[in-house]
């Protein structure tokens, strides 16, 4: 099922400037894995050594943080938006 992944500005450096990608998968984790396979430099930014999403990265399915859904196992439906929200310190 195709869903839209939104890449935030600080991580676009690692996606060749892509801001939005449409990928197919059953779960949020599967989509993120596909993303990391397509852009290998992004992998270390998204996942730690154990394959967990790094704690300075939040992933939202539409308006909700996947930590309060089913984390990487959260099911996605067609047309869902998956948004990666990293911590940014600039001021």
């Amino acid at each position: 099922m195709p869903s839209t992944l939104l890449i935030p500005a600080p991580l676009r450096l690692y996606t060749g400037g892509h801001e939005k990608l449409t990928l197919s998968g059953e779960t949020v984790g599967e989509l993120l894995q596909k993303l990391a396979t397509q852009f290998p430099l992004l992998r270390t930014h998204l996942f730690d050594e154990r394959g967990e999403i790094r704690s300075f990265i939040n992933v939202y399915l539409n308006q909700e943080d996947i930590r309060y859904l089913n984390r990487q196992q959260t099911l996605v439906e067609e047309g869902d938006q998956i948004r990666i929200v990293p911590s940014v310190a600039g001021g």
Binding site: A9, L13, F56, D65, R83, V88, A89
Partner: protein
């Protein structure tokens, strides 16, 4: 004739000054008095601190504290509208105080020309009702958060990068804190700073003024705050998105069983402590002077620039090849693994990642230029502009 309702708090001059507030039902005399009595501490007098300071002073916030230790730099002027060209080289707080008192002489401004640290944060925050986070680094953001949680104070949060902003209100007494959202900081170098990635000057104004509105609403006690909502601003598309924020019951500082009950060493927490985890492998790195000597000796070196094309347009080292970091994995065939490679970026962070990647890919003769093209321009070739 006796005037019927003479204000105890405001002079006629102040009433004229604040008249556009006073005639609004949401503010009125009572709200303006609350503003006058309020005590707001701004952490950072930079991109966010500038609009915050100007608007909170103009709005009549009676007691404004400012914490910063920097001097005004030319590269600040694109967004730090508190300062003028003639302030370059001057203490930020000295210039800021002068400017803010020029905007509104009826308020009290306190300046703390010091680096906010675990040793002074609690004492400093103690005197204020609201803390506004406008800093530019992770250690200070975690310090501000933890101090606010420990003291039970609201933290008006904003951060910026390029065209993107994040704004919310944290108040751990009734909702989430910064650590509920981001439990730990990124390892150094993984998330680019504004100095490395850039920021639209006006975006700082947009986010700072939203923070100022949140502070004013909180003081006056009106409206709906951003608490529990993370406002994402995309200035390039001019889209505002709201994400739900929840209080994490397992939060290490505001959760049910907090493991952090006092301020910690935030430099260490963010992996920035000197002499810890930063033991450098000399063979991986090269100083600008060493590079210059080797180039002068006629040695063949592949100079690899991993910055973005727009940075390449500003300046470059003669003889270098541009392959932006993001393109590097798919362009390895352009490099020769038998010839030494020296990789550089602006300050040495991105090129450090590139050097690691190249080493792992079998380019064992790869070195990272310490301090990047900035250091090269300062130490070797002053004809290059710095940015």
């Amino acid at each position: 004739m006796k005037s019927s309702i003479a204000s105890q708090t405001f002079s006629h001059e102040e009433i004229r000054r604040y008249s556009r507030h006073l005639i609004m039902p949401e503010v009125g005399m009572a709200g303006q008095e609350r503003l006058k009595e309020a005590r707001v501490l701004l952490i950072g007098a930079g991109g966010l601190g500038s609009p915050l300071g100007l608007y909170l002073a103009a709005a009549g916030v009676g007691n404004l504290g400012l914490v910063d230790f920097d001097v005004v730099d030319e590269s600040n002027l694109q967004r730090q509208v508190l300062y003028s060209t003639h302030d370059v080289g001057r203490s930020k707080l000295e210039a800021a105080k002068e400017r803010l008192l020029g905007v509104n002489p009826h308020i009290d401004i306190r300046t703390y020309e010091t680096r906010l640290a675990s040793a002074n944060a609690l004492e400093l925050f103690e005197d204020y009702d609201i803390i506004v986070d406008g800093t530019d680094n992770f250690p200070t953001r975690y310090l501000v958060n933890d101090a606010c949680v420990l003291l039970g104070k609201p933290n008006v949060y904003g951060s910026i990068f390029r065209f993107d902003g994040q704004v919310t209100l944290f108040d751990a007494r009734t909702g989430p804190c910064y650590r509920c959202l981001y439990p730990t900081p990124p390892p150094p170098g993984l998330v680019p700073s504004c100095a490395e990635g850039g920021v639209l000057g006006v975006l700082a104004g947009l986010v700072g003024t939203i923070q100022a509105i949140e502070a004013i609403k909180l003081i006056v006690g009106i409206g709906e705050s951003l608490q529990g909502r993370l406002l994402l601003i995309d200035g390039l598309r001019m889209q505002f998105q709201e994400l739900r924020l929840r209080k994490d019951p397992n939060c290490p500082v505001c959760g049910k069983k907090p493991s952090i009950t006092q301020l910690i060493d935030y430099e260490e927490f963010c992996g920035l402590a000197p002499n810890k985890n930063t033991i450098r492998d000399q063979t991986w790195e090269i100083t600008p002077f060493q590079l210059k000597e080797r180039l002068n000796s006629g040695e063949r070196i592949q100079l690899l620039d991993v910055r973005e094309p727009q940075e390449w347009e500003i300046c470059r080292i003669d003889g270098a090849t541009l392959i932006p970091l993001g393109d590097l994995p798919s362009h390895l065939q352009k490099l020769d693994s038998t010839t030494p490679i020296v990789v550089y970026c602006k300050v040495g962070v991105r090129s450090g990642q590139a050097a690691k990647l190249l080493q792992a890919a079998g380019f064992s003769k790869t070195q990272n230029l310490i301090g990047g093209i900035d250091a090269w321009a300062t130490e070797i070739d002053p004809t290059l502009p710095t940015y």
